[in-house]
Symmetry: C2
Subunit: 475 residues, 2 copies
Amino acid sequence: MSGHMTPEEFRAYGKRVVDWVADYLASVESRPVRSPAGPGDVRSALPAHPPEEGEPYDAVLADLERIVLPGITHWQHPSFFAYFPANASGPAILGDLLSSGLGVQGMVWATSPACTELETVVVDWLAELLGLPGHFRTDAAGGGVIQDSASSASLVALLAARHRAGGGPGRHAIYVSSQTHSSLERAGRIAGLGTGRVRSVDVDPRTLAMDPGHLDSLIREDAAAGLVPTLVCATVGTTSTTAIDPVPRIGAVCREHGVWLHVDAAYAGVAAVCPERRWINDGVAEFADSYVTNPHKWLLTNFDCSVLWFADRVPLVETLSTLPEYLRNAATLSGEVIDYRDWQIPLGRRFRALKLWSVIRWYGAEGLREHVRLGIALADEFAALVRADERFEVLDHHPFGLVCFRPLWNGLGAEEADEATLALLDRLNDSGELYLSHTRVHGRVMLRLAIGAPATERRHVRAAWDRIRAELDRR
Amino acid sequence: MSGHMTPEEFRAYGKRVVDWVADYLASVESRPVRSPAGPGDVRSALPAHPPEEGEPYDAVLADLERIVLPGITHWQHPSFFAYFPANASGPAILGDLLSSGLGVQGMVWATSPACTELETVVVDWLAELLGLPGHFRTDAAGGGVIQDSASSASLVALLAARHRAGGGPGRHAIYVSSQTHSSLERAGRIAGLGTGRVRSVDVDPRTLAMDPGHLDSLIREDAAAGLVPTLVCATVGTTSTTAIDPVPRIGAVCREHGVWLHVDAAYAGVAAVCPERRWINDGVAEFADSYVTNPHKWLLTNFDCSVLWFADRVPLVETLSTLPEYLRNAATLSGEVIDYRDWQIPLGRRFRALKLWSVIRWYGAEGLREHVRLGIALADEFAALVRADERFEVLDHHPFGLVCFRPLWNGLGAEEADEATLALLDRLNDSGELYLSHTRVHGRVMLRLAIGAPATERRHVRAAWDRIRAELDRR
């Protein structure tokens, strides 16, 4: 066959795929978390050439099972503790399916008004759920938009900040710390800031939080040297250890010097769905020019769904807008609508609001809070277990789902200890029973155990701890 | 309810959503192509606040039908002729569903080897299907990667080109024509090239193709003035009229001056799946440093799926790579694997290869050719109909699915004629029976009718022509 799949064929195959996904989700726990595949294993099992004639969809499903699955590291496995979680959930998958089925491209309002307006509503909803300030709402001066990732969001924020700051190429400087996500340095590279224009602000050696005093002196030095201090990135929940930069004090420095404050809360920001965690966003209402958090990490919405808000959307739209003739339309010219293509790097866009809408409606505020609270509670329990074992060191616990820890390896020097920790990590991950990642803190390798997959229950965290201790004993 | 959707709930709701999508696809023809919604209609019908408690998924489906659908412009409608098509297809929707269900994040090889390796294989397959040169393959010096859009792809190409060219901020110049996609100018803005660094090369007034002679003199002028000529964008199938720039002659100019040649074949490139259209890529094998085409436009793969190839991947990876400690892993350090995060703007990535794989396997090369050939044949037929009516002018037809034409409005001045054409366009689109867009050629408004939606048959094209003539008579 080589024709289009008819709606009736789609109905039949679609149900088979839904069954496949339901079976996968029900059985994911029985699979090794991390794929045992080596480089080239999957590739060499696939045909070198595309088929000349079409094949029934069953052939795809058979190869998915036989060739693709052994090469999958299962992010939705209850014992996936690496990186940060990338939550998928039933309602999000269904929202994505609706988006694919509708197949609309929402580059401007006019190309599907609902694609734009539902997005505006759900990002306003999310702002309310997280207690973000009213001026981030689209009916005020700001507005939110769904991006593919916090990396792209930070680049977009930088472009808006650069526009507001004015000044020619090669004179803009931005401010990060050693703990800031690597995408900020990369955004500076992409934006062509030039060598040495991404300044590294010191951190407090204990908390790993950015030092506002050092930030202030770097900005003064740069301004005195004729540079244009353009953007400071403060992080709420750093990637390495979920450290929290002092946003109120950083914000005050930014305000004094007229520098854009971007707050990167990619992982941790959604924790503010719980009123008792709202303090993590202290200073945001007063000082943040832009703020990003990723429902696709911990808030049950399939990748990609990163939400970026602005306090003032004017510099954003001014720096990114284009209006070629073929996109001119009455709605755009009326100024009454939002054209989200002016809020992002690509021109085209999928209907991603459907999945966030599905998630918020299915879970409600209550369900979202319950999920975040469980992750935090399990991380607290895990940290307490590790702390109670004198063979381990635990990094001062931050109030999210991540625990950083390491065996002390009494008797080993620093380098040997790091090697032993990495070897332990490899053995654990090779087991297929759990999957952790690592980082370096003050030069020392630490293990990262991040809790937040929807399938993770207390028993999985307990089992992880048992496995870690057993592997340590085995050494 | 506020808990997670269980696999069994997912199974039941999933089948309901599949039925919804199948019904939608089967009935899309009965809906008005362009949404009749006005600004704020959808937004005002949605609750201002998120729900406190979760709701059953039926509530989402009910509101989808009641609130969202009236705000949808139906890109998959058989009478959608606006912009360029954004093909969805059954196998692509299913591939996307599998991607959402697996919920993996393929930022590096190690985070799900199959996500990377299947992508490598399918972009190599696509290169073969399109007759692209062997050095674009990953087992040679180059390689392909799936991007969200040609806009992002062109930005990535510019970053690689800038890296290869060397030189400091404010000195790089790039070369486009008045017909080049607006994303190139925007990429220059994002990359911080500075004012006046995006040069506009003249076009042949008849063909609207870039003038290689003028390109050569602009590059010489800039080099003499101490600038760094960095990238030329040649287009195969421009957005406005599907004009084709003379890639072999442009390529020779690039080669002489050591300037990066990026070929933007976003819409038209996939037509090379038909051997008789391979000539559109003349010069690509000899001269192109990068090449982009979008399966999400005409090749039956849901947005987003844009494929970008490089002749040499080294400058790309050098300019975009980062390696924070938490992403260090044995596979990356071995150099034996690809980490696609170094090939794109964002860090994270979905498993988009699944949908392209599904499409190529379901249709086979034969099925893809059949789809493209039908679009071209119907466009030829439509152009012949318009040409045979003396009340109309047709732009020299280009060999793809787009026809540009306008009523001559004998007796009206240029400005009045343009107004009359735009008014005709509004009346046609307001009818809900078909949806066209427009452009300007030599300052005159022309209608654009682009054929390529999978559901479009001869009768829809005939009906469009009848409707256009009837509306003209009614005036």
